[in-house]
């Protein structure tokens, strides 16, 4: 007599033996995720301010199987990592010289051939000026698409750069898997997420060594406050500018809705008076001037 459940069990056991071995998994995950992070508690107080902006585009419940972790130990970044940059939301990091040198994708490679022939690009071919291979691991490749200067390109990506993920199918063909605008940001090897900041008031005076800033987490966090998860701001001093970079511990959970995150007010302490130097948000590459007089 045919025993369905026994056959199913035997089938699964047989097929499990065909699973990939994942010998390079540790290296791949470490490379994508950065090195182990250091931790310490943030000093001072923080006040959450609900800005209530943004629109939900991904509606997936918080799937943390063990519930929220209320005993948050805030992580703090290493002073400054980053000789690498990222495109923002993904974990891929690369040399910033690529933005200048734009090394072309080898047209004779499998991937180079595919993007010219069979693999439909994520943007109209007439807008594409060139391709650069950022990274390839196994059956996944990340490409930068350089857009031609044009109004249509600017509407699509103000930076003129699209980062696209391509995947290799079992039949040996490459195809575009996902894409999005690349807004270059500095990469930090701290396991933390990026956050932008703004000034709630006017620019601090020249003698200022302490002033409040409003920090907003960039990633999807289901609209939860970053209070208790903010690391100490990183402050870098240059002759003509002071760079402040804010980082935040990733929210607990697996997936989040992309509601606008509330801003959190923290106080930045400088080691020396600000003087006439410009204040820059060090999250971006290159660093950007900060907005002033933003609502709490």
């Amino acid at each position: 007599m045919y025993d369905l459940e026994s056959t199913l069990r035997a089938t699964l056991a047989d097929r499990a033996a065909e699973a990939p071995t994942g010998d390079d998994l540790v290296d791949v995950v470490r490379r994508r995720g950065g090195v182990q992070r250091t931790r310490r508690r943030i000093a001072g107080t923080a006040t959450a301010l609900a800005l209530g902006i943004g629109v939900a585009v991904v509606a997936i419940a918080d799937l943390n199987p063990f519930g929220p972790d209320h005993d948050i130990v805030v992580t703090a970044p290493d002073p400054v990592a980053a000789d690498q940059i990222t495109c923002g939301s993904d974990q891929l990091s690369f040399d910033p010289d690529i933005l200048v040198e734009r090394p072309p994708l080898d047209p004779d490679s499998e991937l180079g051939t595919a993007v010219r022939t069979t693999a439909r690009p994520p943007v109209a071919a007439r807008l594409i000026e060139g391709w650069t291979l950022l990274d390839q691991a196994g059956s996944t490749a990340h490409l930068m698409i350089w857009l031609k200067p044009a109004a249509e390109s600017t509407n699509m990506a103000g930076s003129g750069m699209i980062v696209a993920t391509y995947r290799l199918a079992n039949d040996g063909t490459w195809s575009s898997w996902s894409s999005g605008e690349c807004e270059p940001q500095r990469a930090f090897d701290d396991g933390l997420d990026p956050a932008t900041w703004a000034l709630p008031g006017a620019r601090p005076g020249a003698e200022a060594t302490s002033f409040p800033i409003l920090v907003t987490e960039r990633g999807c966090a289901s609209g939860q406050s970053s209070e208790g998860r903010l690391a100490d701001p990183i402050v870098e001093y240059r002759d003509d500018a002071v760079l402040i970079t804010t980082r935040v511990e990733p929210p607990v959970g697996d997936m989040f809705t992309c509601l606008g995150n509330p801003a959190t007010e923290v106080t930045v302490e400088l080691d020396e008076p600000l003087g006439d130097r410009q204040l820059l948000d060090g999250m971006w590459f290159p660093p950007r001037p900060v907005l002033e007089n933003q609502p709490r």
Binding site: T7, T21, G22, G191, D254
Partner: protein
């Protein structure tokens, strides 16, 4: 337990689970990589959990269930139509039967397939499956029943 140690010790179990869920080696690698990356970023919480491995395995199952992964279309049904009912099965028959089962599994809705893999490969009870999948035990039971019914229907057709 550090992250490196965890991956070295558990990667094959995770990949086997992902492979049985997806039916595709590339998709399995992608799913496990995604889950481990999330685990890496939350490693402190993972290691403080009562069952760290369950935490990561849930990430694998969720990555499969989120529906953004492609299902492999590389495998074709193996013809078993001439198999005589009640005949003595030899090795070739058994292999054909399992190949047909594997093909039919790939055609099941993701939730049904996940329940069957977790029940018949991981040997988890309904409560554990429900916890892993983020649903209730009754949903697990109904998915299991529907999945088995589909497989049974297919097996009686051949």
């Amino acid at each position: 337990m550090d992250f490196h140690e965890y991956v070295v010790n558990h990667r094959r179990q995770l990949l086997r689970l992902a492979y049985l869920l997806t039916g595709d080696a590339h998709d399995a690698e992608d799913i496990v990589q995604t889950a481990l990356l999330r685990a890496f970023r939350h490693w402190r919480q993972v290691t403080r959990a009562d069952h760290p491995d369950a935490y990561v395995r849930r990430m694998v199952v969720n990555a499969f269930l989120d529906g953004r992964r492609r299902r492999s279309a590389s495998e074709k049904p193996t013809a078993t139509g001439d198999m005589p009912v009640g005949a003595e099965r030899d090795h070739a028959d058994t292999q054909a039967e399992r190949a047909a089962m594997w093909t039919k599994l790939a055609e099941l809705p993701r939730a049904q397939r996940a329940v069957l893999v977790l029940r018949f490969y991981e040997d988890l009870d309904d409560a554990s499956i429900a916890e892993l999948m983020g649903c209730g035990p009754s949903t697990v039971r109904s998915n299991a029943a529907r999945g088995l019914a589909s497989l049974r229907k297919e097996s009686t057709r051949v």
